[in-house]
């Protein structure tokens, strides 16, 4: 009996913590159906009156561009980055996990150190480089670094994963006459699929949310991504704009929530184990 009571108490304690924690998200969802004046006046969860005007307003152009364009842009950038990261990081990870070359330990340590390097620090010289290449205000400065495996976190994640593959598998393939390229493609890649999926989804979500880099590189209205489109609302003091602002905010996090709902176990565990072996 006391065991049951304790368990119920445990569920209750967890729920009491979760409610305030998830309140801002629930609030956003409901507030997107409130009128602008109600949004500023009360922090209550449920609207006094549900209206669809905020979502309807999104059919108007923003900065002369239809709102769906921002979704397309964000999708292109986030998908491009995800694919680029899978390709480049898995190549590098295979070399670090399985191949022999000079200075391997040093180079791997260098790669790990760059995980801790704040992106803001190298933004200025990178910007000046991309400016010289004529790539400012295109998606290239966002995607190209991923194609060149600069996201060391994912190299690390994949190396950890590849180390769990029994070496006998590679060796058997080698005895069958496979070279490293074959082994990578036919043995290693299929076995590290969970790590590839984790990489793809994390990259997608982090790029989808990323504000700083996109703010710096993208400026033409037709190139703006969702975070930048939302930024257009920041200056506004007009309460009537609050509704559409929150409607777009809500829509913008829907893909993240969907990915999370579908892959939560993979994401949480991928993230958790990366920390343990650090």
């Amino acid at each position: 009996m006391t065991g049951r009571l304790r368990l119920a108490g445990w569920h209750l304690a967890v729920a009491l913590l979760l409610i305030p924690l998830l309140y801002p998200i629930a609030w956003l969802a409901f507030a997107s159906f409130k009128s602008g004046s109600e949004i500023v006046q009360s922090l209550a969860l449920l609207p006094q009156e549900y209206i669809l005007d905020n979502y309807r307003a999104l059919s108007d152009d923003l900065a002369g561009v239809p709102v769906w364009q921002f979704f397309v842009n964000s999708t292109v950038v986030a998908t491009g980055c995800a694919i680029a990261n899978i390709a480049s990081c898995s190549l590098a990870a295979y070399a670090f996990a399985r191949l022999r070359f000079r200075l391997r330990g040093v180079l791997f340590a260098f790669t790990l150190a760059t995980i801790m390097l704040p992106v803001h620090i190298i933004t200025i010289p990178q910007y000046s480089l991309f400016q010289k290449l004529g790539m400012v205000d295109t998606f290239w400065p966002l995607i190209l670094p991923k194609l060149l495996a600069t996201d060391a976190f994912f190299i690390f994640l994949m190396v950890q994963f590849m180390r769990t593959i029994p070496r006998e598998l590679d060796e058997a393939a080698r005895l069958d006459g496979c070279g490293s390229i074959r082994i990578f493609r036919s043995v290693v890649l299929p076995l590290v699929r969970p790590a590839l999926v984790t990489t793809a989804i994390f990259t997608f979500i982090w790029t989808w949310n990323d504000f700083f880099t996109q703010l710096i590189y993208l400026s033409s209205p037709e190139n703006l991504t969702l975070p930048l489109a939302l930024r257009l609302f920041i200056d506004t003091t007009d309460h009537n704009a609050f509704g559409p602002m929150l409607a777009l905010s809500a829509l913008a996090i829907v893909p993240i929530l969907l990915f999370f709902a579908a892959f939560q176990r993979l994401l949480v565990e991928g993230f958790a184990t990366s920390g343990l072996k650090g």
Binding site: L129, I234, L257
Partner: protein
Amino acid sequence: MTTVLERPRATSAASPPKRRYGERPSIAYLFLSPWAAGAVLLTLGPMLWLLYLSFTEYDLFTAPRWVGLDNYVRMLTVDPHFWNAVRATAKFVLISVPVQLVAALGVAILINRHSRMQGFYRSAFYAPSLLGASVSVALVWRVIFHDWIGHPDRALLALVLLAVWQFGAPMVIFLAGLQQIPQEYYDAAAVDGAGPWRAFLKITVPMLSPVIFFNLVLDTIRAFQVFTGAYVVSNGTGGPSDSTLFYTLYLYEKGFVEFKMGYASAMSWFLLLVIALITGLLFRTAKGWVFYSGDES
């Protein structure tokens, strides 16, 4: 007995496998080529270019002009906003990191219990970490805390809350760490009459210390980089009265609003040095309190 405390990072670079098959090492370079190009062109090269730029006056459109230590001198001795930015960032890091880690550890201990619901709870606590960096959530914060953001102390507090709200990321790492502590240790402690608090101090903390250390280092570095929340909540100004002028925000303002790239480069190097110094100090203190299993003392 001696306690061997390697830096945790170093353990990741395992010993190279023996060369059993006569494949040319050049194949490795093929696999490494995208990474190598990135390391040289997008990391190492830019760092050196940044160092050079920090000694120049540069607006992106005309060639950099050498000014020696000018930027550093102005930054450290003349510019009041620079020190405001340092102060705001220091306050933010010093408050948000410990609070977030304590919350993360507390919740990890709370939900570390056999239950079919554990996976669900873990995901629910983790969810804010995936959303917290988005402009959407920052805008929600702006509306919800709209009475606070006009007041210097409370504006910073709102941003601390936004950071603490995302404690799920270190929490899942703590939880994974907790699950690796053998239950027998606690059973033995209970037999010896140790209460939960003693068991926490004598078993959980030392066993978890590598994970605590890992989270402490990563969270500290992460806190130095917070940008979106401060930008959105303060409308890009860092106000009121520079209370939310985080270092990254001021860096952005100098570099990409005022196009004072030389000055911003000096700021970047300063940030790099500070982060390197703090990380170094943390690794130093680690020798006193971080224990790795396998080297029982």
